[in-house]
């Protein structure tokens, strides 16, 4: 599957395309197949996202998992600072990245 990601223009937060909006959580990302150029264009022009791009991902029980480790780090946060990730209460969250 392909999902879309970018950063929030104002805050720089990593965001994921949900089909209608941008979410901080990769779990909310939807498969856009091959027809995403128009979404990227439109959303960037409307400044709802900054420098968006499509990445490969696979669907798992916990939701979409980006194929590349870099995007998994983006999705979670720095593995060396669990307190600053999106899952501060889950000490095992870092394993999802690796």
């Amino acid at each position: 599957m392909k999902i879309l990601t970018g950063n929030d223009l104002k805050t720089g937060d990593v965001t994921w395309w949900t089909g209608s909006d941008w979410s901080r959580h990769v779990e909310d990302a939807v498969d856009v197949g091959e027809s995403f150029e128009a979404i990227l264009h439109e959303e960037e022009a409307a400044r709802r996202v900054n420098v968006p791009y499509a990445i490969a991902a696979e669907m798992t029980d916990e939701g979409p998992r980006p194929a590349h480790i870099k995007d998994r780090v983006r999705a979670l946060g720095p593995t060396v600072r669990p307190d600053l990730t999106l899952k501060p209460a889950d000490p095992e969250a870092g394993n999802w990245v690796i």
Binding site: L9, T11, G12, R47, R74, P78, V80, L84
Partner: protein, 543 residues
Amino acid sequence: MYQYDKYDQKMVDTRVAEFRDQVERRLAGELTEDQFKPLRLMNGLYLQLHAYMLRVAIPYGTLSGKQMRMLGHIARKYDRDYGHFTTRQNIQYNWIKLEDAPDILADLASVEMHAIQTSGNCIRNISSDQYAGAAADEISDPRPWAEILRQWSSFHPEFSYLPRKFKIAVIASDEDRAAMRLHDIGIQLIHKDGELGAKFFVGGGMGRTPMIGPEIRDFVPADELISYAEACLRVYNRYGRRDNKYKARIKILVHELGKEEYTRQVEEEFAHMKTLGLNPPVEELARISEYFADPAFEPDASDDLDLSDPDFKLWVDQNTVEHKQAGYAIAVISLKPQGGIPGDASSAQIDLMADLAEQYSFDELRVTHSQNIVLPHVKKSDLYALWQKLDEAGLAPANLDLITDSIACPGLDYCSLANARSIPLAQKISERFADLGRQRELGELKLKISGCINACGHHHAGHIGILGVDRKGTENYQLLLGGSAAEDTSLAKITGPGFSEDGVIDAIETVTDLYLKERQEDERFIDTYRRVGMAAFKEAIYG
């Protein structure tokens, strides 16, 4: 310390106002990201893995207490309560919001700081010896020269669009504590027949093609130093490879032309420059030097130290350095606690270091290229009180220059160019070698880790270096041995096939065990490696 004059302040304030306007236009959609990106990069604002990242310049690594406290304030107010001190003697914030960036720059400007020229193909922050003005072995204080170079290179119109980034280091002792020969230009101040001048080394660097800068001039008189630097840059600006980013650094030009031909062209340009009268007037040199006059040292401060507290004794042994003034010491605050993140400091720690600098070090701090903080002028009789306060705040690891005092770049935890994480590796090595007795037994051992070939973590210059690579989507680590960033500069060599994270830590243990077995007398790791050679180490690692 240098203080801005009205021109410095005006330039910085004007830049803040300009950037504020640019950010407003970006947020309002009047500028596209393509248009805005070069503008934000000129103000040190990157877009990194998790957010915008701001890199703040700390000229030649020198800070006052007030400036340091402002760095803590920014971490607390705009970021997530910490900052990361880097190998270029700067600080980076990882969680900056675009909408806050102009206010942050205004806050910085209020204490004579900025983020200008911390990105892009220009002359970057000038680096220098972190012990400048305090070291017992320096022939002259390098900071006035670093400051003159800073002023000369700030907004230099001819050098705003160089073929590639450009890094200059200035030192003034035979011991090189600034990785001088791994800079685009390395300048070593020297005396010749009683006259002050400098040796020039041009074309050093790390990155994907590491090179040690060759000496191109054994003496440039001090009052011609700027012209000579300008000549070096002019030749580069004209002939540096703009067609290929990977061949654009000056090291490639010097290498391809050959040192002799490059030098010939510089000398020709220099002869021409001398006719233009571009060197700063002597009065200006004198004016700037005055800012770096010695603080009011107590003339009869005592050298006596009560070392009855064994932990204090360890710290004094390991983390203090001889000062030029009797009764004083240079104290190094290690930002490498056991299992910690090299170079990170919380805002509370930053505030505390600011307070301690005001209280014990004539209001001065330095950032080192190995990601530590220095209090350059501490009275020996104050060391115990200082140490106690540092220890309480987790700032007194007694591991300067030991294996756990490693350098690590942000790596894949923060950096969008990374192939692998570097920080967790530094943390695990720090845990594996936690025993201080064992560390001290191993002695001086420079461990340097980069998360990709760009070498921000100086892996080429590590006695032991680690380079993170991407092997079919998983993190893999190459081990390097034999590098040095000191006066015996050398480039490390890869041992062989890469390892997993745990594998590389085991390999390091194998290597250090072999060193202990082979070492003669008081050889350091690097000395034994050089004597014994790579083959024995390879054999031990790979069988």
